[in-house]
């Protein structure tokens, strides 16, 4: 083995990490090469000096600080997960309520019943509501013989805060029933 080969394996030789054959080759070379022997001595001295460096020790109260930090992190983690749970619950409640309102009242714009009156009624609360493409009343099936057109738009679109639901629905139902009776 030459100097280059030994130099490459010097650390493994010191750390006893060579196979017996290679170790023997390194030792044979070291017996005859003063340069490699010096290099080995310097390596070992550096390692020994590094091992003799004064060990660092943690400052007073370090362990207590660590344990306190773990506890406070744990508490904040619990508070966060509790908050997350409550937020999830509130979210679910909101979705359920919204869904219930949607099925009970219907989507916005569909509050006009299918038996509505004439779209060109002069008493419309908001003409735009009827002329808007999305809420075009003319698309609703209105029988020609129907007399529901007698109702004013105010009856159908009266603001809910001024008219109680029964007042809004009952006259319409009654009229429809009359309409059905007149046809059959």
């Amino acid at each position: 083995m030459n100097c280059r080969g030994v130099s490459r394996r010097l650390s493994a030789y010191i750390d006893d990490d060579l196979s017996p054959g290679i170790r023997q080759g390194v030792e044979d070379h070291l017996r005859t090469c003063i340069s490699c022997k010096r290099r080995l001595a310097e390596f070992e001295a550096i390692i020994s000096a590094a091992r003799n460096l004064a060990p660092l020790t943690v400052s007073v109260g370090f362990q207590y600080r660590v344990l306190r930090a773990v506890q406070s992190r744990q508490i904040s983690h619990e508070v966060l997960s509790d908050l997350r749970y409550k937020m999830t619950l509130a979210g679910v409640a909101f979705v359920v309520t919204s869904a219930a309102i949607f099925f009970m009242v219907g989507p916005p714009g569909s509050r006009t019943p299918s038996f509505t009156g004439s779209p060109d009624s002069s008493n419309l609360a908001s003409p735009d509501f009827y002329t808007h493409p999305e809420t075009k009343v003319s698309s609703f099936p209105v029988p020609e013989s129907s007399n529901v057109g007698q109702y004013t738009a105010q009856d159908q679109l009266a603001p809910t805060d001024s008219v109680r639901p029964n007042e809004f629905i009952l006259p319409n139902v009654q009229k429809v029933n009359e309409n059905i009776d007149s046809r059959f």
């Binding site: 130099s7 001295a45 060990p55 660092l56 400052s59």
Partner: protein
């Protein structure tokens, strides 16, 4: 590997048993783990970042991560490997931040002074420690970490490879290179580190 010199006295509860207890919610075992590893980690992280206060903060964060991620530990690796890996990642992150701060403050334009000793004649063995530490600091990060794990922490090559996530051959090469670089850096103080090293009389007799 000479295990006899590297293995310390075996504790009553093994690290793996301790981890199992921590995973089952035993807080006393966590306290025991902190007591067992705090100085070892300080001598590892402290030598990498070369600042005790920062090193203690990083070790505290290491223990917090150990506690919070206790269930992610699997007995496939040694507990110490897992702990060293967490500490090393934090230390590397700190070094990256420092590098960025240095770059932003334009300090990189100033040349880093290498080892400096004004009065070499009055230099004592006690004075070598900061010189050696400075020489270690000046090593490239990969070599420095490998050297600290091998020669200060005295871990076997295989475990160092697992911590650094590189092949054992790479570890051997890095350690050999680190020792060669230190040898070059410390050439002017050869006599002093020989004195400090002690215990190798047959080598000292060469000179």
């Amino acid at each position: 590997m000479n295990n006899g010199t590297r293995q310390k006295e075996r504790p009553k509860t093994s690290d793996k048993e301790l981890m199992e207890l921590i995973q089952s919610g035993d807080e006393k075992s966590f306290t025991e783990l902190v007591a067992r590893y705090q100085d070892r980690l300080l001598n590892f992280v402290g030598r990498i970042v070369n600042d005790q206060e920062t090193a203690e903060e990083l070790i505290q964060e290491t223990f917090l991560r150990i506690y919070n991620q206790k269930n992610s530990y699997t007995p496939e690796y040694a507990v110490s490997t897992w702990i060293y890996t967490i500490a090393l990642n934090l230390a590397r992150s700190e070094l990256r931040k420092r590098k960025l701060r240095r770059f932003l403050s334009l300090d990189f334009l100033k040349e880093e002074s290498d080892i400096e000793i004004a009065d070499k004649a009055n230099f004592t063995t006690e004075g070598l420690a900061p010189i050696l530490q400075k020489a270690i600091d000046n090593l490239p990060e990969d070599y420095r970490t490998a050297f600290i794990l091998c020669d200060i922490q005295r871990l076997p090559y295989q475990q160092i490879a697992e911590i650094l996530r590189v092949p054992v051959g790479t570890v051997k090469s890095r350690i050999n290179r680190a020792r060669s670089m230190l040898r070059e850096k410390l050439k002017p103080y050869k006599e002093i580190y020989y004195e400090l090293s002690r215990g190798i009389p047959q080598i000292i007799s060469l000179y």
